[in-house]
Point group: C2
Chain length 402, copies 2
């Protein structure tokens, strides 16, 4: 007998058939003698529909009220799923965020979980109830409903698993696990049996979009073993944990992130403090800078190039112009770029990984504009039109059997 | 400066335009310097849509989960209305039932309000916030969401007005007040300026459908002055209170209730205890009996005739058959009947009211099947096809100027 936390996303409960399917998955686990806590997101497009209702009324909705509004989506799906389990003959109870004991910061729309008061949860488990928790919502110190932002239901699940020392936290999605590449685009993509938290974090940041990043960070912090699997098939998924068994694969995944723009300042005065001046202004406006490249100074001028999320490109350009660098400084924006990355804890101790990646790109005739590396990741910035080709080439180099 | 409670039904907030209209009504009152608490129902068909979702899953939904599910409807409308007030430049805050302090019994689906903890409400009033309360929901001792049943938002409003000693409780509907008759059917219908709680209760029971009965009972108990008015026009409505000014009108309203059936048991043994035997069995199955008529016994047999709600007719007939009265007893069901009533506190001291009503019916050629009277009401049971004609005739007799 184990305590299992399961999380189902919005598409997994989008209509009657999917709700009943999820209820079958839940009750199958329950009838094997396990304690089961389920976290559920809002059905299908419910959250978008609610946001659209607010958008009719105001272009600047108050975040507190948006949280109240959006919490209704999970309230609906949680109660329906409890009814579905009951209809199959099993005891179930829905709990909203405040009932499940989620205490959060009062950062409406992006609240942080501060703790979980587990009395009610334990009481319902003692009563042998299947617990259906409305995901992504909690209660702040002002007794207001808060939400954790998009993807917050993953975080709800991991937090519950951590607080109750669950044996496993299963995240059900519409893919069968974590792949070395996007399986819809790269035919040779391989499903991974296991992956480390750090690798998963790099993959998520780079656009793999399987797990919400905050949930992986929390799982890493509290050492919660996660499993990403499909609610459509009955196959084992990918286990995310601290350390994984000896592994031949250096690289665990190849990803593409097209949501970036490259900004260059050509002709910056070659004096100390310029980088600080530029990047502190961007940081003050919450613009994250990713890859940074600074030319070796020639004469009294140098060039600084960096990437930002595409949505921030215009604002960043405006900030750069306002800096009033020199009359000759030129600011160039390029949004036709993409970042392709290879991720894997194994590459830390294998210096050949980078050259293997560069070779694959060279053979595919792709020019590398910028390079960034970390212990478990190599990223290159390339022309956007060639991103899919690049992903396929790099993937083929690391997974020739795929 | 006064404290005003306003309640808006589902049709008053059914879409963007109606929500903005209600926000204008609310903020107009607020900007005149009043404290404003608003109770809102779920938008348009939301509650029906949610019930339909549950019905797909199960034919016997657990009441606890139905309450969680339905509470989402008011959660949505309350947050949207708060946003609309904010968009117009006024401070507003939505409160769900548990946040507004509604403590209820744990009779899910039909919970009774046990009390209101007013701390949060008073705090928000002190902050000069317009408070938007999600109607028809509360919290029971198990920390579960409960609902008050259909029409419960009226009760929410009256309870708030009573707990906070509000100066007025305004119930906005899609009619302009309480009429002497249904204005859509009887051209001479007159809008009443004032009506007593007791008259309102009789009119509501008889199918006037303007106010939820529980809310009027509560208003009477706590002496809360209510006003029924339209959210579509800007006219004064009808005030409901304990005593009203001297009034020439004996009769305050004429109503029709077609939701009834007449059951007769012909040939009941003329022995003591028969009525008890029959009506206690019906009461045990929660079947309310309205008008009762017992013939004067002839020989050893008598007849008993009574009316029940039409939905209960078949079940009542089955209960009567199960009683095994005598071999000769005959049970007759007639669903082609309607009840027409004249209501008015003034008739208590005016014995001529009944004869005036009977005369009007006689002149219209309508046969009276049964009669029931109370201090402030005269009801007759007649053929259903003639009900509208009867209402018009009786109304004309009491309101010749109409």
């Amino acid at each position: 007998m184990a305590l299992i936390v399961k999380k189902f996303g919005g598409s997994s409960v989008k209509d009657y058939e999917r709700v009943m399917n999820v209820a079958r998955i839940i009750t199958d686990t329950y009838k094997q003698g396990n304690d089961v806590i389920v976290v559920v997101s809002a059905q299908g497009d419910t959250t978008d529909d609610l946001i659209a209702k607010a958008a009719e009324i105001t272009s600047k909705p108050q975040k507190r009220e948006m949280d109240v509004l959006q919490s209704a989506g999970e309230t609906i799906s949680a109660s329906l799923l409890a009814m579905a389990c009951q209809e199959m003959g099993y005891p179930a109870v829905s709990l909203l965020g405040w009932q499940a004991g989620f205490q959060t910061s009062s950062a409406y729309g992006a609240a942080r979980i501060k703790g979980i008061q587990t009395e009610r949860l334990r009481r319902e488990l003692d009563r042998k109830n299947i617990i259906i928790v409305a995901g992504f919502q909690g209660l702040c110190k002002y007794d207001d409903v808060t939400t954790f932002g998009r993807g917050g239901s993953d975080t709800t699940a991991v937090a519950l698993a951590a607080a109750l020392h669950a044996d496993r936290c299963k995240i059900y999605t519409d893919v069968e696990g974590v792949y070395t590449c996007d399986p819809r685009k790269v035919p040779g993509a391989v499903k991974l049996d296991e992956i480390t938290y750090d690798e998963m974090l790099e993959l998520a940041t780079l656009g793999a979009q399987v797990l919400n990043n905050r949930s992986v960070e929390m799982a890493k912090k509290y050492n919660v073993e996660m499993e990403v699997l499909s609610s459509y098939s009955n196959k084992p998924g990918t286990i995310v944990k601290e350390k994984i068994a000896m592994e031949k694969m250096l690289v665990r995944g190849v990803t593409k992130d097209a949501d970036c723009a490259r900004l260059s300042i050509v002709g910056v005065p070659n004096v100390p403090g310029m980088a600080f001046k530029i990047f502190s202004k961007l940081a003050a406006r919450n613009i994250n800078v990713d890859i940074i490249l600074q030319s070796v100074g020639r004469d009294d001028l140098k060039d600084i190039t960096f990437t930002v999320a595409r949505a921030h490109a215009d604002e960043a350009v405006a900030i750069l112009h306002a800096l009033d660098l020199t009359a000759n400084a030129k600011i160039i924006k390029d949004t036709s770029v993409a970042k392709v990355s290879a991720v894997g804890a194994g590459m830390e101790s294998h210096p050949g990984t980078a050259s293997k990646m560069f070779e694959a790109l060279y053979e595919a005739g792709i020019n590398i504009q910028m390079i960034a590396t970390s212990e478990i990741k190599i990223s290159v910035l390339i022309e956007q039109d060639k991103a899919d080709l690049a992903v396929a080439a790099v993937h083929k180099a690391f997974f020739p059997e795929g």
